[in-house]
Chain length 115, copies 2
DNA sequence: CCGTATCCTAAAGGATACTG
DNA sequence: CAGTATCCTTTAGGATACGG
């Protein structure tokens, strides 16, 4: 949780799972993050070894971010968190009525009776 | 991440995956959490629909916590996070040398080339 | 036994302006 | 384009003491 715990890290991870992205591309994909936060979360993830940052000294400058092996190894988890999150939101926030009888229908795959 | 994001929630979840627990049992299992934090995280998880809180008005009082379906549905994810966390720690913090050539050996199951 | 109440620090997150 | 620099608010987390 220390490594994934940022407000935006999962979203960034998801973007980078789609391939290398440059700073401005990430900004466009995540319209509500501020420049400062994007920079900070990216630097933290770099420090944690989840991604690499490559600076191309051109004009205009270009910086590319790509996942490391460690970052890519979070693929499955990120995916499951994403799926669970959607299920949870749809089940508990959906029709305001929400979980009147507990989650029973479209449960995330494999999480039914547990083990 | 909003739902799982507490410092202790994953640990609490893990305990409750083992069955119903009372307050003092959780405290003993998580020696470094303060009473206040345990109470708070439990109440948040209850509000999020992850667990139920049952009060038995006896002397001395007894309060039992149990996961809901939603809580139990996090089983697989909690497990994977746990596994990844250990792998990450062992790989990146282990011999101080750490990830000299990127994670290559005991990668968490199924997260290799990524499907 | 199972909490509340108080008080406090630190970390996270953000708005806004400026820059190599 | 891809950041820094400031300044500020909010939330998380914790230590300690007290109570039904």
């Amino acid at each position: 949780m220390e490594v994934l715990g940022g407000r935006w890290k999962l979203a960034i991870l998801k973007q980078l799972l789609g391939g290398t992205r440059r700073f401005s591309e990430l900004q466009r994909a995540l319209p509500r993050i501020t420049q400062r936060m994007l920079t900070r979360q990216l630097r933290e993830m770099e420090a944690d070894g989840l991604l690499t940052r490559t600076v191309y000294r051109e004009v205009p400058p270009r910086v590319e971010y790509a996942l490391t092996e460690a970052g890519r190894s979070l693929d499955a988890i990120a995916d499951q968190l994403d799926t669970w999150g959607r299920w949870y939101r749809d089940t508990y926030r959906a029709g305001a009525g929400g979980a009147e009888e507990g989650p029973g229908e479209k449960r995330p795959a494999g999480a039914a009776g547990a083990p």
